[in-house]
């Protein structure tokens, strides 16, 4: 039998894959900078709620998967993701007691930094074209209450600890 804190891992990964599928949905041109970073939202949720079963390595793997599915340079999303996951885990005790809307406010700068990291790394590698997708941070923070509620339902239903 798996140890208690490992039992929820399949559930966590299924939620991450669903978030990945959401990210890949084809969108009209105007909506693309507004589309929230769903995988990051899920990673932040699991880092806050179950920091002992969802470690940094898994956040990093989720970022790597995102790199692969967006046909980007391997390591780019992974690096941004691991920084955000670390911040969430480091301060999970401080953030967790907040009401959901305050958590969304905390998330806003985190998501903005995440998008900025992606933009900055693209610039560093000489890829022309990208801009800082800060609108995605706004919509991401706005989507936090929804994803929080959904993922909490999942966590309680499947008893992920």
């Amino acid at each position: 039998m798996m140890p208690v804190h490992r039992r929820g891992l399949p559930v966590i990964w299924i939620s991450l894959v669903i978030a990945l599928a959401l990210t890949l949905i084809p969108l009209p041109e105007w909506a693309r900078t507004l589309w929230p970073a769903w995988v990051t939202l899920a990673v932040v949720y699991w880092s806050l709620a179950t920091p002992h079963s969802f470690g940094l390595i898994q956040a990093w793997l989720a970022g790597l998967l995102l790199d692969a599915s967006t046909a980007g340079v391997l390591g780019q999303h992974a690096l941004a993701m691991v920084l955000i996951a670390w911040t969430a885990q480091r301060f999970h005790l401080q953030i967790r007691p907040f009401p959901v809307w305050q958590q969304a406010l905390v998330l806003l700068p985190l998501l903005a930094i995440y998008e900025f990291m992606l933009y900055w790394l693209s610039g560093l590698m000489g890829l022309a074209g990208p801009v800082w997708a800060w609108p995605a941070a706004l919509t991401g923070a706005a989507m936090w209450p929804l994803s929080f509620t959904m993922l909490r339902l999942v966590r309680q239903r499947f008893r992920v600890a």
């Binding site: 969108l27 790597l64 046909a71 340079v73 391997l74 690096l79 480091r90």
Partner: protein
């Protein structure tokens, strides 16, 4: 190290946090190493292949709704529509066959003339139909995922065309799916020639699906709006003679050495789902790829124009 211990989390400076910082540092370093290896040296093909197989089901799932819509549109369309469409296609087929006969004669004549001139003959080309998956990726790059991979003999550098012109090239061929960069991506350049007078230049993507830029033509160049740009085989990557775009605007600025010329892509960049992958004759194929593999995968070797050096 994973076990939940009350004492650990109360004091922020005990082992767990130090472990966390250590792990963060390691993962950051690992990410940087990956990025450098992948971007500068292109040495992670195996890892790319493995990961691309891993995300294949996700891409299929995302593409599924589009597939269902197309399928239902096909299977639910009325009989008289189908008959009408069929008739339309038959007349079109007849017309194309007629044109093809003339083309065969022309090609034979062309080959005879080339033999007379003792110049190299054009290589045979094979085409394979593949589909673009309805999957959205990085919003700032014009990339697409194709439903064929190296198991179907797709290779990096393979040219992609649709019914109207050149679409792009394969940048990475995974086992089941491959990634292609479109000619409108801001990092993409394609060697072209003006069909009217054979003037050679480079067309760069702009990030807009309806515009290409031709930044390396002097103000005195003989280019007019309406000129057809066709691919030149200069880089050895694109087959020669496929339409790339039509010049839309020629702006000559007094005092500037280069003209500002833009073109509209001939291919339907954001509307094609079915595309053709052009394969060179097998024996030349592998040789070609080996030769051009030194260049970064996302910039064709034609991209040696001034000021276009990637850091």
């Amino acid at each position: 190290m994973y076990g939940y211990k009350q004492t650990d989390t109360r004091n922020p400076f005990t082992g767990r946090h130090r472990m966390l910082v250590l792990r963060l540092a390691l993962l950051v370093l690992l990410s940087c190493a990956l990025m450098i290896l992948d971007h500068r040296h292109q040495q992670l093909d195996r890892l790319h292949d493995a990961l691309s197989v891993l995300v294949t089901p996700v891409r299929w799932a995302v593409d599924a709704p589009t597939r269902v819509v197309l399928w239902s549109r096909e299977s639910l369309s009325a009989r008289h529509h189908l008959i009408e469409r069929n008739r339309e296609l038959r007349t079109q087929n007849l017309r194309i066959h007629g044109e093809l006969q003339r083309l065969d004669a022309l090609q034979a004549e062309n080959e005879r003339l080339r033999e007379l001139l003792q110049s190299a003959r054009q290589v045979d080309q094979q085409v394979m139909i593949s589909e673009i998956l309805a999957v959205d990726m990085n919003p700032y790059r014009h990339q697409v995922i194709l439903n064929r991979g190296s198991l179907d003999d797709v290779y990096a550098g393979q040219a992609l065309i649709d019914a109207h012109g050149v679409l792009g090239q394969v940048t990475h061929a995974g086992p089941l799916q491959s990634t292609a960069l479109l000619i409108t991506d801001p990092n993409h350049s394609i060697p072209v020639e003006v069909n009217r007078n054979g003037l050679r230049t480079i067309a760069q993507g702009t990030g807009s699906t309806i515009r290409l830029d031709l930044p390396y033509l002097p103000s005195s160049a003989d280019v007019r709006p309406g000129d057809l740009l066709v691919s030149s085989a200069l880089a050895g990557r694109f087959p020669r003679g496929y339409p790339v775009g039509i010049v839309t605007e020629v702006e000559i600025i007094p005092g500037e050495r280069f003209a500002r010329i833009s073109a509209r892509p001939a291919a339907r960049i954001d509307r094609s789902r079915e595309v053709l992958m052009v394969t060179r004759r097998p024996e030349t194929t592998h040789h070609d790829v080996d030769d051009t593999d030194m260049a970064p995968a996302d910039s064709p070797p034609g991209e040696t124009a001034p000021g276009e050096v990637q850091p």
